[in-house]
Symmetry: C2
Subunit: 339 residues, 2 copies
C-alpha cells in the first residue's frame, strides 16, 4: 500500500503520518511507502523512517513528478489558509483549486491505465459554512446544512468537495470529503489567523505567558482535538462506501464550547493561577469575524461511523499536556503549570 499525504509537514499532516507509521497498516494492508509532499520539509523523525519519501515544493510543481508513481491512497491536506487566500486571490485559486484538480487528474490517469480507483480523503473545513443574507445559518451546522462560504478559503474547500464527488461518481477515484472543525490546542506560536486565540488562551497560560482573549466569554465554537481529527481522517479513509453514504462531504465531530467553558476547563485541569493569565481585551475586527462563524456543529454521519469528539474540553487540554510531555519541548510549553 503506497500512500500520499499532501501537506505532510503540517500540524495535522505530521500527526497523521506518525499515527499511520505507528499502526503500520491501513484498511488491513501494510503501508509499504508513505510519500509526504509539502512546501516545507517534513519533520526529521518522519524523514528518518525508511518507509517515508519526502517531496518538498508546491503541490502543483510536485504533481508532474508524482505522476510517475502509483498511489493506492491519498490524504489531501495541503491548502493555502484563509488569511493567505484573502490577501492573494490568485495564490488561493492556484494552491487550493488548481492543485486539487491536477492531483485528481493524476489519479484519474492512474485509473485510466488500469489501476483500481485510489482511495482519496479530502480535508475540507467548517469554513464552508457562513451566514448569507438570503440563507440564515443555523446555530448548529450539520452534514446537510447549505454551505454559503464567506471566505475564498471556504469557497475553495466547498468547490473541491464537489470535484471529489464528481470524480468519484465517474469512478476515477474513491473519494470522500471530511470537514475538519477548528483544531485545538495547536502547539507553537500565535499566528495571524482570527481563530488563533482558541489555542492561544490555553497554550500561552500553560507556558507561563499572558494571553489576550479578543472575544467575550459567551462566544461558542465547534472545537476538536488533533487526536480526534486524525482518527476521523483515517476512519473516513477506511470505511466502506456504503458506510460513508452518498458522495456529499461530512462534518467531523467537535465539542461545542464557549470561551468561558474553555477557561473553566483550564482552571479545572491546571489551576486558577494558570487561568488568570488570560485577560479579555476585545478586538472588534476579530470579534466581528468570529461572530460570523458557526456557534457549533453536529455530525450524525461521522457519529454513525463510530466517531465522537472528546467528552469534555478538559480532555482536550489533558491531551495537549500529554503531547507536550512526550516531546523534547515539554519544559518550555508547560513551565506555567508549576504553582
Amino acid at each position: 500500500m503506497r500512500l500520499l499525504i499532501t501537506g505532510g509537514a503540517g500540524f495535522v499532516g505530521s500527526r497523521l503520518a506518525r499515527t499511520l507509521l505507528s499502526r503500520g497498516q491501513i484498511n488491513g494492508q501494510t503501508i509499504s511507502q508513505l510519500v509526504l509532499c509539502d512546501q516545507f520539509p517534513a519533520a526529521p523523525d518522519l524523514a528518518a523512517d525508511p518507509r517515508v519519501v519526502v517531496h518538498t515544493g508546491t503541490l502543483l510543481s510536485q504533481c508532474a513528478e508524482l505522476a510517475h508513481s502509483h498511489f493506492d491512497g491519498v490524504f489531501h491536506l495541503a491548502s493555502a489558509v484563509s488569511g493567505e487566500c484573502e490577501a492573494d486571490f490568485d495564490l488561493g485559486l492556484r494552491s487550493n483549486i488548481d492543485s486539487t484538480r491536477v492531483l485528481l487528474d493524476m489519479l484519474r490517469a492512474q485509473t485510466a491505465a488500469g489501476a483500481a480507483p485510489a482511495r482519496f480523503v479530502f480535508s475540507s473545513s467548517v469554513a464552508v459554512f457562513g451566514p448569507d443574507d438570503a440563507v440564515p445559518m443555523p446555530e448548529l451546522v450539520s452534514d446537510t446544512t447549505l454551505p454559503t462560504p464567506q471566505t475564498s478559503y471556504g469557497m475553495h474547500k466547498h468547490i473541491c468537495e464537489h470535484m471529489v464527488a464528481d470524480y468519484t461518481r465517474k469512478g476515477y477515484i474513491d473519494g470522500r470529503s471530511a470537514r475538519l472543525m477548528t483544531v485545538a490546542v495547536r502547539p507553537g506560536k500565535p499566528n495571524g489567523a482570527a481563530s488563533s486565540f482558541f489555542s492561544g488562551i490555553i497554550r500561552e497560560p500553560l507556558a507561563g505567558e499572558k494571553s489576550v482573549c479578543p472575544v467575550s466569554a459567551d462566544v461558542s465554537h465547534p472545537l476538536t482535538s488533533p487526536r480526534a481529527t486524525v482518527e476521523g481522517l483515517i476512519t473516513v479513509f477506511e470505511c466502506s462506501r456504503q458506510a460513508y453514504g452518498g458522495r456529499t462531504a461530512l462534518n467531523l465531530p467537535a465539542i461545542n464550547v464557549t470561551v468561558g467553558e474553555m477557561l473553566q476547563a483550564l482552571e479545572n485541569v491546571a489551576g486558577r493561577h494558570v487561568r488568570e493569565r488570560v485577560v479579555f481585551e476585545r478586538d472588534e475586527t476579530i470579534a466581528g469575524i468570529v461572530a460570523r462563524w458557526p456557534k457549533g456543529s453536529v455530525s450524525p454521519r461521522a457519529n454513525a461511523l463510530g466517531l465522537f469528539a472528546e467528552k469534555s474540553f478538559e480532555d482536550i487540554i489533558r491531551q495537549y499536556i500529554a503531547d507536550c510531555q512526550a516531546s523534547p519541548h515539554a519544559q518550555e510549553a508547560l513551565k506555567g503549570l508549576a504553582p
Copy 2:
C-alpha cells in the same frame, strides 16, 4: 452600456438578445453595444442589428480578444450541456469551469483598472439538485435546498455559482446566479438530452408528427417558458443587491406539472386529435434518469422580485404557438393544428 451575452447564438441567448435590443435599454441605460459570443454564428436578424457585434469561437479562445473591450454587464449563458459533459469529462471542465474563470478574471482585471464592477448574471441550472444517498432530495427543491449534483454538468454549474459569489464578495464583479428550470417548448428537432421529450410531446404533435413519451404520465417536473426565463434573467440583472439578497444562487420560477397534465393542456389548447399523436413507450434509461430529477421547485426569492411562472401549462403552449406564428417557419411547426 456595453453588454456581453455568452452563448448568444443559443435558444435562450438569442431570445434574450432580441428582447434586449427591442427594449433598447437595461437598468435605465441605453444599450449601445451588444456583443454575442458563441461557438456557433449568431442568428442573421441579430447579426444585422447595428448595435450587435458577433464573436464566433469557443469562449476560452474569445476571452483574450474580449479582454481588450470593456463590459458594463454580462449574461453568461455559454455552457457545454449535460450529455456532452458526461461523454467528454475534460471538455466539460474546460467549457464550463475554466471558461467561466477566465471570463471572471477578465472582468476582475477591468475592475482592477478602475472600472465599476460589471453586473454579471450567471445562468445556473436545476441540474445542481439531485438525490444523494446521504441527503434525501425534497419533493420540491427551493433556493435553500442543498445541491448535490448527480452529473458533471450540475457540478460545474454549482461550482460556478460559488465562484460568482466569491468574486462578488471581493468586489471584482456584481454577480448573481439564477437557476434555470427546464425550458419548454423548445423549437427545432428532438436532441439526445434525456429531457428532450418534455418539449417533444408538445412540439411534434403540433407539427402533425407522432411523438413517443418515454416516461409514465405521473412523472412531475418543474417547467418554464422561454419568455419567463428571459424575463427572469433580465430581472435578476436589474435588481438591487439588497433585493437579490445575499450571494447564493436563486431558483427561477417554474410550473410543477405532470406529463399527464401537459397532455391534457395540449388537448385543451389544440384538440384531442393532436394529443392522440403522443404514444407512451417506456424507455427504462430515460425513465431512470428522470426519476432522479426534482419533481418540482419553489422560488420564493424570485417571487419576491416579482417573478412568477405562467399560470398554467396551457399558457406555455399558447406562447409556443404564438412564437411559431410570428416566425417564417410557422407553417411547418403548426401544420398538425388543422383538424
